[in-house]
Amino acid sequence: MLGYVLKRLLLAIPTLFAVLSIVFVLARVLPGDPAQTILGDQASQEALTAMRHRLGVDKPIGAQYVDFLVNAVRGDWGNSLVTGKPVVEEVRKVLPYTIDLTVTAIVLGAFIGIPLGVWSALRRNTWVDYVARVGSLLGLSFPAFVSAILLLLAFAIQLRWFPVISAGSLDDPVERLRSLALPAINLGIIMAAYVTRVTRSSMLEVLGEDYIRTARAKGVPTRAVIWRHAFRNGLIPVVTVVGLYLGILIGNSVLTEIVFNRPGLGKLMVSALNQRDYTVLQGMMVVYAFAIVLVNLLTDLTYGFIDPRVKRQ
């Protein structure tokens, strides 16, 4: 088991390396000049040249790449080109916000989506099913920033339960929860929509299997048929979707963070891209690539717990 995990993590290294190299080149091929972003549009050429030299972006791209790799191996991810602060510090400051948001959204999505999906499958073609299907379709097709503004209008402006600026201090648990609630619900709804649909279709498939009929025929109570026989087998695709969903969550969290004014990796990435902050961009990509590798690994390990046959293979 441990050997398997280690092997998987080691295999991630070439992936990370490839991602980094691609990001490194792409970011620099893009037109745009970090020195101009920092100094503004009135800066003299002399000042721009001096700034490019100070940032080290005037060197040939090959030399920059070698410097970058050597420093990265040493654990030095450089300083943000724009703010001048260490990249590691920039990422570390916003990471708790992103983890809070992502984990809560996934949990919320699973807690709403799985029961709703099962229920809807069991009551196929009744009003319950129709409501669940239409609701999940709405959840999927609603852009995250629109639902975010609707949530703000209802709960922050009308009811005044939550703040618009959801950047509460991490040290104060009440503040932390208050500013987490709306963004997490916003992402959680989309997540729940996905999970509902996958759970429903997966359950419908399993419920039609022979062994379910057999279980029913031999007199197993309905509750056990559903939860022990059907649900456990239907869960594998759901776990896959939850894992894959992390990627989608990253995309949606950018918009959610911007509308709710929440610090986070998504916002950090957009600002780095706008300002051509190459070093921050590189650091972010490592974090993202690593997160995806990690979640894939966790997903695979979860398969083993749900279905012992997977573990034996």
Binding site: L30, Q36, F111, W161, G264
Partner: protein
């Protein structure tokens, strides 16, 4: 299932309890500001010239002199003392002596601000390695500390707008020597000046907090704290204003926004100078624009009034010249080609394009700028000119227009309100893009170099204005740039927030907040 429902109920209750535990309302000595930006840049007044950063610098730094609070008149006679109490110049105007206020303290205990700090600060502003504004100080010969409270500036030649370089703006912001030397590169993380507010805390992608400077030489500020929040989304900035989380917000240069905000309860919309002038710069060297008839045709095709109506009565005004209205040296007596589609068509025919022509340009995706260009595109189509617009992201646009990749460049800018700055940066041959001394001359025009250079050192104000007028006339006759409209700065605030002076203009492009700014309730 039942268990799940219990769980859900428990979670909902927990959220409700948390929601009801609202924190006490902030006392009204804290000013919350919403700025349309994703983050701060390098917080060094000599490095950053971005709009979001400049507003902050204005609250933290002093110059030797200043314009009257809330105005932006560059007339030297109207300048007030800031860190300097008095000043005088030699008869030839080449030597200036400034007497400093005594007892001014640098923020966070960095000691008294003296002549040494002025010498250091101006040397820093003039050094291209440490400043983006070094070229402003190229006529400075030397800056010396005569004694602890006296500074002497010697110039290589006369600089009529010298005082303008010494106000609390860009290179004129005075930093404290001890702090800047001690911190080096880290100065951007804790900039130290002498202004009414001092640096408190920076939260990445979130906010900058400034604290009242208790030792401020004009008296302790009435506000205790300013939280300057970076709120990129227009919609959430508006919502945060409505919910009371911010008291002063960056506005949209959009008439519907202004109309809506004016209807909000207890809200004041501030519209103030400078206007950002939108100009279409035509590259006079690139065919087909190297033919003046084509350039004239484009100018005649543009309907300024229609664009003004599109932009909005309060949020724009039609441009009059290539130097913005209100700038020292602006002249309305210039050949501004009127809207005349028939003449445009005739000119095109004369230039050999009876069936019209297509021009491929690059434009930014910034919505405010793009919408105006789309109107222009429609107007040009009526005379047979097809604008083939490649819309790119803003940083790409800035990079590509500086490589001469777009024969027509739509650029919108406000500068120090003296004609010299605008004319030099946009029309002097030294500033042509692609050259080693490039700034933002996209048209490649060089027809008024002599007038621009002569005006800069002309001591007689009347003669100087005449030179600037001739420069504007020459450049407009050649259709180097087509001025379209000007957009003033727009902010909204709570009616209870009193700046302490009428806000008519602000060079920093942001509202001016000082020791007198307070909430009336």
């Amino acid at each position: 299932m039942a268990r799940l429902i219990h769980w859900a109920a428990a979670l909902a209750t927990a959220l409700l309890v948390v929601a009801l535990a609202q924190p006490a309302l902030a006392a009204k000595t804290v000013l919350n500001v919403g700025m349309a930006a994703i983050d701060a840049g390098r917080l060094d007044p000599h490095l950053s010239a971005t709009t979001p950063d400049k507003a902050l610098f204005n609250w933290m730094f002093n110059g030797l002199v200043r314009m009257k609070q809330g105005t932006m008149n560059p007339d030297p006679a109207l300048m007030e003392g800031d860190l300097a109490e008095s000043w005088k110049s030699s008869p030839d105007g080449k030597q200036w002596t400034f007497n400093l206020r005594k007892g001014v303290q640098c923020h966070h205990g960095y000691g008294e601000f003296t002549a040494d700090d002025v010498v250091y600060s101006l040397a820093r502003s003039a050094d291209p390695k440490r400043s983006a504004f070094s070229s402003d100080f190229k006529d400075f010969d030397k800056v010396e500390a005569v004694d602890k409270y006296t500074v002497r500036i010697t110039l290589k030649n006369q600089v009529p707008s010298l005082l303008g370089l010494l106000i609390n703006y860009q290179g004129g912001n005075m930093v404290c020597k001890k702090a800047a030397e001690e911190m080096g590169e880290k100065f951007t993380q804790k900039p130290i000046g002498t202004g009414p507010f001092m640096f408190g805390e920076y939260k990445s992608k979130e906010s900058v907090t400034l604290l009242a400077n208790p030792q401020y030489f004009r008296g302790k500020p009435k506000l205790e704290k300013i939280v300057y929040r970076y709120i990129l989304s227009d919609a959430s900035r508006d919502l945060a204003f409505t919910s009371g989380e911010i008291d002063l917000t960056y506005g949209k240069q959009d008439q519907t926004w202004v109309d809506r905000m004016k209807k909000e309860k207890d809200t004041i919309v501030d519209v103030f100078d400078p206007g950002e002038l939108s100009v279409l710069y035509l590259n006079v060297e690139k065919p087909p624009l190297n033919d003046i008839r084509v350039r004239q045709a484009i100018a005649h095709a543009i309907d300024r009034n229609q664009i003004w109506q599109f932009k909005g009565k309060d949020t724009a005004r039609p441009a009059q010249s290539i130097v913005p209205i209100g700038y020292l040296g602006h002249s309305a007596d210039v050949p501004l080609l009127p809207h005349d589609p028939e003449k445009a068509k005739a000119l095109l025919k004369e230039a050999g394009y009876p069936n019209g022509l297509t021009i491929k340009i690059i434009h930014t995706n910034l919505p405010g700028m793009l919408s105006m260009m789309e109107v222009t595109q429609a107007q040009l189509r009526k005379v047979g000119i097809t604008l083939d617009m490649e819309v790119v992201e803003h940083a790409t646009y800035h990079a590509n227009i500086r490589k001469d990749m777009s024969p027509i460049v739509h650029y919108s800018a406000a500068r120090f309100p003296v004609a010299d700055v605008y004319l030099t940066q946009f029309y002097h041959s030294r500033s042509i893009v692609g050259t080693p001394t490039a700034v933002t001359n996209f048209s490649h025009c060089n027809d008024a170099d002599a007038e621009i250079d002569a005006a800069r050192v002309e001591p007689d104000v009347a003669k100087q204005k005449a030179l600037w007028k001739t420069a504007q006339q020459k450049l407009m006759a050649k259709v180097c740039g087509i001025p379209v409209y000007e957009q003033p700065q727009i902010w909204a605030r709570r009616a209870t927030l009193d700046f302490g002076f009428p806000l008519k203009g602000s060079l920093s492009l942001g509202p001016v907040v000082d020791e007198n700014t307070r909430f009336t309730q």
